[in-house]
């Protein structure tokens, strides 16, 4: 068979283009790699198997293509829509989907867990006939079930944000407000207070919970330790509230009967 070399020119051009691009790719890798590693370190891996079923192929490609934030935003708007309709299964599914798509924004974890822990028990009670018709024991059961889901959800958030005090505080609040479990709430407030950049109120609430549990001595020691580390002046003292902490210390000294000579001297 006879071949015309001129007809192969486009093929030759194509080969030259591919070869040149490969060389460029190799040559630019050292420039690109450090930047890419740095960016990837801040991007949690996509767990596609958990979300692929819920999304179409186009959305999945969008996610892989770097549009996680906006896709998550869209689904958060959708979450808000089904939440407005008191649609429990849909809200629970979308809340989980949003953080599966983009686990980085804390906002999704905190607000998703609030929908699960605080709104859904109400929806279930309403669906079962209302607060008057549903026995207290069943209401308590709904609270416990939804709280368990919310706490699990927040704990999976800790997998992405292990040092995030607000997640510990949110777990603590679920125990405190929904389950009236002061002991576990105190445990999580302690964890929150031990994280870097923890809000100062976490330490104060931990001490307050210890007092409620009758562990005044522990509360007293904790507050003394806390007070020593609090900023005493400037803007930071507006949230640190050292005067309030000192007032609590004095109250505890009275309750514990600590003589004035042994009172805490800041």
């Amino acid at each position: 068979m006879k071949f015309d070399l001129a007809a192969f020119r486009p093929l030759r051009t194509g080969l030259v283009v591919v070869a040149a691009l490969t060389v460029a790719g190799l040559a630019l890798r050292p420039v690109e790699s450090p930047a890419w590693e740095s960016l990837r370190a801040d991007q949690p891996a996509l767990k596609l198997d958990s979300i692929q079923g819920a999304l179409g192929q186009g959305v999945t490609v969008g996610l892989l293509g770097g549009f996680r934030a906006i896709v998550a935003d869209f689904f958060w708007l959708k979450t808000n829509s089904v939440w407005g309709d008191n649609d429990l299964p849909a809200t629970q599914t979308y809340v989980h989907l949003v953080t599966a798509i983009d686990p980085r924004p804390l906002y999704f974890w905190l607000n998703g867990s609030r929908m699960i822990a605080y709104d859904m028990p109400n929806w279930r009670i309403q669906a079962a006939g209302g607060y008057d018709a549903v026995p207290q024991s069943v209401q308590r059961k709904f609270d416990e079930e939804q709280s368990a889901v919310a706490v699990d959800y927040l704990k999976s958030g800790l997998g992405y944000h292990p040092d995030e005090p607000l997640l510990y505080i949110e777990i603590a609040n679920v125990y405190l407000n929904r389950l009236k479990d002061n002991a576990t709430a105190a445990e999580y407030y302690l964890k929150a207070a031990q994280q870097p950049d923890a809000p100062h109120y976490a330490a104060r609430i931990y001490a307050e919970l210890l007092r409620r549990l009758g562990r005044n001595r522990e509360a007293y020691d904790w507050l003394k330790k806390t007070y020593a580390e609090l900023p005493k002046g400037g803007d930071a003292s507006f949230t640190a509230l050292p005067d309030v902490v000192l007032e609590r210390i004095r109250e505890l000294e009275q309750e514990l009967g600590i003589p004035e000579s042994e009172a805490y001297q800041p």
Binding site: R9, P10, T13, G14, V16, V17, V18, A20, L21, T22, A24, G25, L26, L28, R29, V31, E32, P34, A35, W36, S38, L39, D42, Q43, V61, L64, G65, G66, F67, R68, A69, I70, D73, L77, N80, R104, P105, Y107, T239
Partner: protein
């Protein structure tokens, strides 16, 4: 004959200063001329105005987030949607405008008139590139400018409504958002050069647009090939996957928007590397477009 006749006795044959002998050097002045013409033609196109309006409308509609009472997180939503509009409409504008402007020259045969002048084909290709880059630059400037304005306006309002969320100062880093906008513009510059490379051997506008979008998707997913080839044992599969990871640039690298939107802060060392990477790819893709276009028979 007419006024032609009345003046036709005058000569057009005295030198205009352009007919000296010797080499014709590469000229940035000619490149700028072609770029200027390309820019003018592009901004007169309905597509540019349409996409610009759409992007502006989308960014402006971020006001809609006020309905949800997101608190200070509203700023993240505004930034995400603003960047989304920039990336989506910017990519569409880049691919469609580059292909359209290139093929309007070929199909209307204005390229024939232009390339029959003493100009280099590299001046033509880089002139087209610069013209489209300027058009996309206007688009990016308007979209980012609007986004910055909206964020500033909403942040001030939210600072009054939720002062506790702003104890550590402003949440939005405006310089980072501007930087991300510039890097996206640079990415569109690489995309323009890629579309010109495709157009240089393609026969139709449609083929160029479709292939352009296809390559855009591959460039966004290039990192998957890069992650994968190390784990593939079969050499016959491994080599092509490896080739993909080297042939296509990594467009995810330019995606610093999430960092800026979440206030994570853009590292300037990373931004500088991304900038260098973009400029290098513009040069490589543009050079290859010139190489391929030189072989093209007009």
């Amino acid at each position: 004959m007419s006024s032609g006749t009345s003046s036709s006795s005058s000569r057009v044959g005295h030198t205009a200063g352009a007919a000296e002998s010797g080499r014709v050097p590469f000229s940035f002045a000619r490149l700028r001329l072609i770029a200027g013409n390309t820019f003018l033609e592009a901004v007169r196109q309905k597509l540019f105005n349409f996409l610009l309006l759409l992007a502006v409308a989308l960014v402006a509609s971020a006001q809609f987030f006020r309905e949800f009472n997101f608190g200070s997180s509203e700023l993240k939503f505004i930034a995400d949607f603003g960047f989304g509009a920039l990336v989506f409409f910017g990519s569409t504008l880049t691919i469609a405008t580059t292909a359209q402007l290139f093929f309007s020259e070929i199909e209307n045969r204005t390229a024939l008139t232009l390339l029959a002048k003493p100009i280099w084909r590299s001046e033509f290709i880089f002139g087209k590139w610069l013209g489209v880059f300027a058009v996309v630059g206007v688009f990016c400037a308007v979209t980012i400018g609007l986004l910055l304005g909206l964020l500033f306006y909403r942040e001030n309002a939210l600072m009054n409504l939720h002062p506790e969320a702003f104890e550590a100062g402003r949440i939005v880093n405006y310089a980072d958002i501007l930087l991300v906008g510039v890097l996206q513009w640079l990415k569109f510059g690489v995309l323009t050069a890629i579309v010109l490379l495709i157009a240089s051997f393609s026969n139709t506008n449609l083929y160029t647009v479709v292939t352009g979008f296809f390559v855009l998707v591959i460039c966004h997913l290039q990192y998957l090939a890069r992650d994968a080839y190390g784990n593939i044992d079969n050499l016959l599969v491994r080599l092509p996957v490896m080739l993909i990871s080297y042939v296509f640039p990594n467009f995810q690298l330019f995606n610093l928007a999430d960092h800026a939107a979440q206030g994570a802060g853009v590292e300037y060392d990373v931004a500088a590397r991304v900038g260098l990477y973009g400029l290098a790819y513009i040069a490589v893709m543009g050079g290859l477009a010139v190489y391929s276009f030189r072989n093209r028979e007009i």
